[in-house]
Symmetry: C2
Subunit: 160 residues, 2 copies
């Protein structure tokens, strides 16, 4: 209790824990993305955007709201919407009432893509993640993730 945190070098165990954790979560991410792409022809980013739009009234959302909803920077979203628009998954309109704004509108094709991808995607999540862990591990994973998330949020903007 008399030791301050963050002072000493990482122990071997700490470093090993870090490496297996960060590398495996990255592998998990890559595996999931690969499945989604192979089975449904869309990326994880596409999926996130499609899902958010499909749940919005009129299947349309202001770019800024969409960006906030999925936690992306505007520029990232703008690039992504451009690519999705080019593939016919959505269209873009100027927002009613504010000519600065843009609204992304889900096309039927985009909606179909989401519908086709959902079941395989959930299946992959179950297979790669949920079923790999015991109920206790799954609960612990959630607890750890929430702890880390709160910790990161505390570091990033306690004064914002």
């Amino acid at each position: 209790m008399s030791q301050r945190k963050g002072r000493s070098a990482l122990t071997r165990t700490e470093l090993d824990s870090w490496r297996v954790f960060i590398e495996t979560t990255e592998d998990l991410r890559t595996a999931l993305a690969g499945r989604l792409q192979a089975e449904s022809g869309i990326s994880v980013g596409d999926y996130r955007v499609l899902l958010e739009l499909s749940e919005a009234p009129g299947r349309r959302l202001r770019s800024s709201h969409l960006a906030d909803a999925i936690g992306w920077e505007r520029s990232r979203l703008s690039h992504h919407l451009g690519r999705m628009e080019k593939r016919g998954l959505l269209t873009r309109d100027t927002a009613a009432g504010d000519n600065r704004g843009a609204e992304a509108v889900l096309t039927d094709e985009g909606h179909d893509a989401l519908r086709r991808s959902s079941v395989p995607h959930f299946h992959a999540i179950r297979e790669l993640f949920i079923d790999a862990l015991t109920p206790g591990q799954l609960a612990a994973a959630r607890d750890i993730a929430e702890t880390l998330r709160d910790h990161l949020a505390g570091l990033k903007g306690p004064g914002d």
Copy 2:
């Protein structure tokens, strides 16, 4: 024990656990990468390559060995080495004894970059990850990561 896994739809809790886990680990990754870039001007990929080369005899490694050591595809490594070479962190030579092969050789500048970045990088790992968790959580995180890693390996190539 009579229920087969992977049959039913994801529960609300399972989906929430998945989302907080995958999003937070991604945020963690992004935060670490940002720190390394801001503090030392190198990327996580750069760091990985520099570390591996610095530990190799003569500070040089065959591309294929390097790729295996850090678990990257050859093409990815080739692109990355090209970028690092352009910045003077390493040079490339044809391998002694096999003119097909290429060796990456750490420059003094590359070695300095690694030396400068190590302490801040370890510090960031401690601050963002190790110190955020209790010892129990850290052990659980490692256990979960190892379980997931083994599970992924089992899915990918049981017959390879």
